[in-house]
Subunit: 221 residues, 2 copies
Amino acid sequence: MPVGLNSHEIQKLGDVVSHKRKIPRGGYLHHTGTKFQSLFAIRSGFLKTCVLEQDGRQQVTGFHMTGELLGLDAISSEIHTCDAVALEDSEVCEIPFAKLEEISLTIPSLMHHFHKIMSREIVRDHGVMLLLGSMKAEERLATFLLNLSRRFSIRGYSEYSFNLRMTREEIGSYLGLKLETVSRAFSKLQDENIITVDNKHIQINDMNRLKLKMGNSSCVT
Amino acid sequence: MPVGLNSHEIQKLGDVVSHKRKIPRGGYLHHTGTKFQSLFAIRSGFLKTCVLEQDGRQQVTGFHMTGELLGLDAISSEIHTCDAVALEDSEVCEIPFAKLEEISLTIPSLMHHFHKIMSREIVRDHGVMLLLGSMKAEERLATFLLNLSRRFSIRGYSEYSFNLRMTREEIGSYLGLKLETVSRAFSKLQDENIITVDNKHIQINDMNRLKLKMGNSSCVT
DNA sequence: CGTTGCATTGAGGAAAATCAAGTTGAGTGG
DNA sequence: CCACTCAACTTGATTTTCCTCAATGCAACG
């Protein structure tokens, strides 16, 4: 699900365009409506992206961690279509997009890789659409936790024990649920001894049953 | 919202790679899991794309019309991640992706344009996520109708009167609703004289009020 | 030590799903 | 041409799920 670059690839880009930027917790990497010039590769930290509607409605469109690439949505109109906010102190590497396109003319594999990254983002979004369109609250949360677990695991952290960087409200926004519903879903999974929740700390006790929660709408409780 | 190419651009691509393919109503352009080799530019007709889950759940991820580009999701893994099915007799132009990448190395503007198209697809998906995550049934349907209306209008058809190519069930799948809910939402909009529904034929009687339906969750009846 | 933000939990209500008839309309074949 | 079939659609009744509102708990912080 995540849009990722491996460390080698990050370095490759870093050699060419290495302007770094630190974003403190709560700080904005970019705002909706501002001019797009660069993509951002996350070197460390954790960010969310969220879109706004005219009437104030808001939705978190993604949570992003080390190695992922931000700003792909802005290429089309050259205006950022979402806010990117750091959920913990983060560091990103700025990649001027014009430069990237210029370079990729001379390095076909880089261009190809970039196309794959954009495509992966589309696939990821389709996954979220499936989640939002056809899953119940508990299934959504299970899917979300498993996704986080996998991404932590890939980055060398425990897949069974991790800290959430976002609030219940942000999780709810991402999953199309209200924060109370998210909280209840956490409690229910805990009651069933599938996970242990301590505030932002999550411990997965039974990965298999958590996976069952995700896939099986008919097999409830 | 749609991923589009203008007729000039279609022609430009067509000059390079002009293998055409006809898909009869109900036929598949590609299946989930099959090898990806080409993008497809729609020359005429109307198609849907849908993703499947292991447990049989299915979701329509998009409806696609003339000028739009299909297959972007498959670039990342080189395997199609969705089915593409013709909802009416359609004609597509096959664009071997390797060839496209090769050519775009020599035509920077083509490459740039392609990046914009992929990016627009991401923005479109974010719009659908917002819809699925935060709108009520009636708002979803209004948004959907207005989107169709705009796309017909762009292609030279009436923005006020058109025929739906898809069933209520397919609309529901796309909007994250059951077909009965879609039907009720149609009836409600008709009762309010905002639209006239005659089976698959839709007439928009009051565009402004339809737009209000879309944006305003608080202003309900 | 009160304030503030975040989380949990309960009760009641609204929205949509589900279940269950009917209706319509486009073929199909007698 | 008419009866028949089948799929798609509409509508109503009931149930489920989630939202809303409200009270409370809890930890961090000035």
